[in-house]
């Protein structure tokens, strides 16, 4: 599903942020991406959700070379990826329901085709009674769940989550982790970037450890 070969990344003329990163992730896998602040987690995630291109090396996602992908192909690949941002990135002028339905609306589906799916998913993540609420009035945990619901509504093959438990209490963190595990059981590959080691101890999954831009795989 994802194959990186000696991938390097630097911004402009600055120092290397990632050095010779190589890994191969299979469909249906679950990985934690860990490392200290500034180790390159967010940069690696940005490469994975095609926000930037590698400076060196070869990178393949879903069999496509992403180092040379044109914008049209990137949009196509992104439809197979669900992303959960640390800062949620919900659109404040849309209700929770509209935010979650956004990917399907963007993909050109008719509302009658997805309306019930969106409602069901929101109930599943515990936001059944907050469907009409706007993001500014949601709590941190509710926003996080809405962001996760938006990431998975399109049944992505890969889910990337950047510090998904960074803004919630430990109890909510455990609940969200269970949600990711459940999604993984349903067939979605999951990569969770976190520096919360306690979270990683709650589920036995391989860890992609970043240290000074270099990647080591544990487990």
């Amino acid at each position: 599903m994802i194959r990186f070969e000696n991938v390097g990344l630097r911004y402009g003329l600055g120092q290397d942020v990632l050095r010779d990163v190589s890994f191969h992730l299979l469909p249906g896998s679950f990985h934690f991406l860990a490392g200290a602040s500034g180790a390159g987690k967010t940069s690696l995630l940005r490469l994975l959700f095609l926000s930037i291109k590698p400076s060196r090396g070869m990178a393949y996602m879903f069999g496509k070379n992403i180092t040379k992908s044109p914008p049209g192909q990137r949009a196509e690949l992104r439809r197979r990826i669900g992303i959960v941002f640390q800062d949620f990135r919900l659109l404040d002028h849309m209700t929770t329901w509209e935010n979650v339905a956004l990917p399907l609306r963007v993909h050109g589906k008719r509302q009658s085709e997805y309306a019930e799916d969106v409602t069901e998913l929101l109930k599943w993540v515990g936001l059944g009674d907050r469907m009409h609420a706007y993001p500014p009035v949601l709590s941190g945990g509710e926003k996080q769940r809405a962001a996760i619901a938006r990431a998975v509504i399109g049944k992505p093959e890969l889910l990337l989550a950047d510090e998904p438990t960074g803004n919630v209490d430990p109890q909510m963190a455990r609940r969200l982790l269970r949600l990711f595990i459940e999604l993984n059981r349903l067939g979605t590959s999951v990569i969770i970037a976190t520096h919360d080691y306690q979270l990683m101890t709650q589920f036995n999954a391989p860890r992609l450890m970043l240290e000074n831009g270099r990647l080591h795989i544990h487990g």
Binding site: I83, L91, H93, W97, A101, G154
Partner: protein, 322 residues
């Protein structure tokens, strides 16, 4: 325990409830207020107003010029040089009238009196009693049958052979001057409309850039959920199209009111010269085709808003995605 409460009287099985309808996505993906502000609408409205005024003015001038040309084309003038005794000139003039009335393609030829000839030169010389003493040429006004006009060259030659003192003027010089003037006015009008269109393009491109900058978060989210550039551009262009149509209708309506009240404005501004003004541009009102031209301006400006924003947004997104 009281069993006669209203709840106790409810039937054991509740009536089937209507299944609640799922919520609907109503909000536009990009909020209108963040794309096109009121000031942009005002600017585009003014642009449309100016373009409509120009288009309407050019249309009126062209219509008036066409009317002049029609009038001129249906009439020729014969001048008889005032050479020799007055009786001789009078005899020649009457002979010319008889000759012309006998030709095919001529509806009527009539001799202008000396008073009428004097009136024609009055605007240049003023009302002086000496006008009649001047050696003014005698004029014959000739109405041409528009359906079967005569061959002017042949007629001129025949007239010249029989009456050497008579000169036939078909106002060709006037016609070409009128055509040149109206052509120049039309070109100037088109140049003004082109300038307005260019300014509108520049404003919309700038507004599109601002709209993308102020909606960067939304554009990023749309990118991450797999929206194609054309989908994102469409979210912006729809707002610009609506703005173009709304501002266009307001601007064109304002220009329409100006043309409707043109006779009043002309009377107020030109005063005694109003008759001359009317002779030049008629009533100054637009006919149906004139108002159609104003609507065409609205369509063009709305299309400029839509297409410019589409290509502007796509270019900006392209640059961002490189």
């Amino acid at each position: 325990m009281n069993t006669h409460t209203p709840q106790a009287r409810l039937p054991a099985v509740a009536p089937p409830q209507k299944k609640p309808r799922p919520p609907r996505a109503r909000a536009p993906i990009v909020p209108a207020g963040s794309v096109t502000g009121r000031s942009l609408g005002v600017v585009i409205g003014i642009m449309v107003f100016l373009a409509c005024l120009t288009a309407g003015a050019v249309y009126i001038v062209n219509q008036s010029a066409s009317a002049w040309l029609r009038d001129i084309a249906s009439e020729v003038t014969v001048q008889i040089k005032p050479e020799g005794a007055t009786e001789e000139v009078e005899k020649t003039a009457n002979g010319v009238v008889s000759f012309l009335n006998g030709q095919n393609g001529i509806r009527n030829a009539s001799l202008l009196t000396l008073d009428q000839s004097a009136e024609l030169v009055e605007p240049w010389l003023g009302q002086i009693s000496a006008i009649k003493d001047l050696p003014l040429p005698r004029l014959v006004a000739v109405q041409i049958d528009r359906d079967s006009p005569p061959d002017i060259t042949t007629l001129r030659a025949a007239l010249g052979t029989k009456y050497p003192a008579a000169m036939l003027d078909d106002h060709r010089a006037w016609q070409s001057q009128i055509r040149r003037v109206t052509g120049s006015l039309a070109m100037a009008g088109l140049a003004i409309i082109a300038l307005v269109a260019t300014a509108t393009v520049a404003i919309v491109v700038s507004a599109a850039r601002s709209a993308i900058a102020s909606n960067r978060d939304i554009v990023e989210v749309l990118n991450f959920v797999g929206a194609e550039e054309r989908f994102i551009a469409r979210q912006f262009e729809l707002h610009f199209l609506k703005l173009g149509v709304k501002a266009g209708i307001v601007g064109a309506t304002a220009a329409g009111f100006v043309f409707l009240s043109m006779p009043l404005i002309a009377e107020y501004m030109s005063g005694a010269a109003n008759a001359e003004y009317r002779r030049l541009v008629g009533t100054g009102r637009l006919d149906f085709m004139g108002y159609f031209a104003l609507m065409a301006v609205v369509v063009v400006i709305a299309a400029i808003c839509q297409l410019t924003s589409r290509y502007g947004v796509r270019r900006i997104l392209d640059a961002q995605n490189q």
